[in-house]
């Protein structure tokens, strides 16, 4: 692709600086929106562009904005910068490398929903990222892009960063709202949806960082231009995070609908150990694992579902021929056990037991029926949970076994060389590949 849209800082050095960003046309679209466009006109452009939420669910952004009840104020914009899905590091690069694009998109969007306050909820581990953002926000205030009566209009806008403290569940939008209100970050019952009753019981729109980073380009260049990228139902570009057994891990900005093979083979360079790709996790730990035979699937919201998974946050974790699927399943279940908020029993206890059983399977003390036991536990969690995290947790229990049952059985029967990889001898690892980006 010629020029990056979201990762434009890779094309223009210093784009994280206000003056460079302004020279590149930055903040002008926001000024034009506030002074020349009605909020509804902005909503209409985003709706027409078909932008879909990049936080995981892929819900059309303009449509979501349209759910706000008329004439109820104040309203809030809340940015979801909690990015904690294993294998996801795209929002971090946007916020660190191209902070003004993200902030301008947030500003335009907050104007569009007729709100005067945007909270950016960022995970505690991104403290250094938050510092970069705060500096960019300070510059935006100094330049008169944020504050009171902007550009001589009636419109005022404040932006605040709110640091989380280490909890994956706070990425779930209602848990995030509870956390922002000073409560434990546990999910709320839906409905009511946040658009009706959200932060401080006011109408609230919650959007992902990457979603909002798309807004300036869309408003600047128009919905028709945006729709020339990607597919009909999944328009635009997306950042794909590539990690695991891959030669060149990193973020790749591509049009939606690009085949997985292109990402893994052309851009990622294949596995680093030269083995064939065995399995792909297309959305971190949360979505079903797919076998390498799905490599020609197009990476858009529809095609990934047809292939038996979801696009989610587009965090592609790659496993090579020699990477143990049972070991990977254990890691993922351990993640969900650690991150279960404890509110409901099936999720809290189910992840606990599944981890125990998977540990047995992996360390060679298991028996063949243990494999089925993991599936049984998953079935007892599925459909019985308060929030989607419980459902997510069943993916690594069900689909790893579905596609690689014989590997699990070989592992318990000991026909696969048992290696307790927690205690493997540390080897001296050779530094080779140079840093690619950032």
């Amino acid at each position: 692709m010629a020029e990056h849209i979201l990762l434009h800082h890779r094309d223009i050095p210093g784009l994280d600086q206000m003056d460079v960003y302004e020279k590149d046309g930055g903040w002008a679209t926001y000024k034009r929106a506030v002074t020349e466009m009605t909020p509804q006109a902005v909503v209409d452009v985003v709706k027409a562009a078909g932008l879909r939420g990049r936080g995981g669910a892929g819900f059309p952004t303009g449509v979501k904005w349209g759910f706000l009840p008329k004439d109820v104020f104040p309203r809030y914009m809340v940015v979801n910068a909690d990015e904690s899905e294993p294998g996801t590091f795209k929002d971090r690069e946007i916020m660190e490398g191209n902070p003004h694009l993200f902030l301008e998109g947030t500003a335009i969007s907050t104007y569009a929903i007729q709100s005067n306050v945007a909270y950016i909820y960022i995970r505690g581990e991104y403290l250094s990222t938050a510092r970069i953002l705060q500096q960019a926000i300070d510059e935006a205030y100094a330049k008169g892009y944020l504050g009171k009566n902007l550009f001589g209009t009636q419109y005022s806008l404040d932006m605040y960063i709110h640091l989380g403290a280490g909890a994956y569940i706070c990425g779930e939008e209602t848990a995030l709202l509870n956390s922002l209100e000073g409560l434990r970050g546990q999910p709320r019952l839906k409905p009511p949806f946040p658009a009706a009753v959200g932060l401080y019981s006011k109408p609230t729109i919650i959007n992902n960082v990457e979603t909002l980073a798309n807004v300036r380009p869309i408003v600047e260049r128009g919905a028709e231009w945006y729709k020339t990228l990607g597919t009909e139902k999944s328009p635009g570009v997306k950042i794909f995070c590539l990690s695991g057994n891959i030669k060149r891990p990193g973020n790749y900005e591509l049009p939606l609908g690009t085949p997985i093979r292109y990402l893994i083979e052309e851009l990622g360079g294949g596995t680093y150990d030269g083995t064939a790709v065995k399995a792909i996790l297309p959305a971190g730990a949360s979505a079903p694992m797919i076998p390498a035979s799905a490599m020609d699937t197009r990476m858009d919201y529809e095609a990934m579902v047809t292939a038996g998974s979801t696009l989610g946050s587009a965090s592609f974790i790659i496993l090579g021929e020699h990477d143990s699927v049972p070991a990977a399943a254990l890691k993922m279940v351990r993640f969900f056990k650690h991150e279960s908020c404890g509110k409901c029993t099936p999720c809290r206890e189910g992840t606990y037991w599944a981890q125990k059983v998977l540990e047995r399977i992996n360390d060679g003390t298991g028996v063949v029926p243990d494999v089925e036991l993991v599936e049984t536990i998953a079935n007892q969690i599925a459909g019985k949970c308060f929030c989607p995290l419980g459902e997510f947790a069943t993916s690594p229990m069900i689909y790893t076994i579905k596609h690689f049952r014989s590997e699990f059985e070989a592992q318990v029967q000991g026909s696969r060389p048992r290696r307790n990889w927690r205690e493997a001898v540390p080897q001296r690892l050779e530094p080779t590949l140079a840093m690619r980006e950032l």
């Binding site: 994956y168 209100e181 001898v425």
Partner: protein, 180 residues
């Protein structure tokens, strides 16, 4: 006890939220208390202070602290190391490398060095999987870890040098498949 500076910072921070929504600043207040305390944790006195300052019940504050993994109820080392061995990092050698770190520090994960300088904890994905192995020391990223780099970082901190992000040169690892 929250320091005077922290109280001022907290008062300033409360302006970000509606006046009757002081509880929104509870995580921030906890971070401040933790930084003020030489042992890096939130004491019972802090809990009561924070509750008073934010119009909350002490039990609510306690509940919040118990919920989040970056808020500590027990004394911690001066440098809290969160080492990532979640799946993507593990696929790049993180589990093996954990032993390098444990060996260097002379402790296992979940422990604090006898001199009170380092606490080592396992962490879930930190958002740096493309720069594995990685860790955070007091929330500053240390990425592309190698044996040498870990040696240098730990030695620098032991020698009393100030903590910075990515304290040694960046080099990326290309391990043999560690899950093989």
């Amino acid at each position: 006890m929250l320091s005077e500076t922290s109280r001022l910072l907290l008062t300033e921070r409360l302006k970000n939220y509606p006046p009757d929504r002081k509880a929104s600043a509870v995580i921030y207040a906890c971070y401040l208390a933790q930084e003020d305390n030489p042992d890096h944790y939130i004491s019972q006195q802090d809990v009561r202070d924070i509750a008073d300052l934010l119009d909350m019940d002490a039990t609510e504050v306690q509940g919040v602290i118990g919920f989040y993994s970056l808020l500590y109820e027990q004394p911690m080392g001066k440098y809290v190391i969160h080492y990532c061995n979640d799946l993507p990092c593990t696929l790049r050698g993180a589990d093996q490398f954990l032993h390098v770190l444990e060996h260097k520090l002379g402790i296992s994960h979940g422990e604090t060095t006898p001199d009170g300088l380092f606490t080592l904890e396992e962490a879930m994905c930190l958002g740096a999987c493309h720069r594995a192995p990685c860790m955070q020391i007091n929330l500053e990223f240390q990425e592309f870890l190698t044996d040498d780099k870990v040696d240098r970082i730990i030695d620098m901190l032991r020698a009393g040098e100030p903590l910075r992000a990515n304290m040694a040169d960046a080099v990326q690892l290309l391990p043999q498949s560690p899950l093989a």
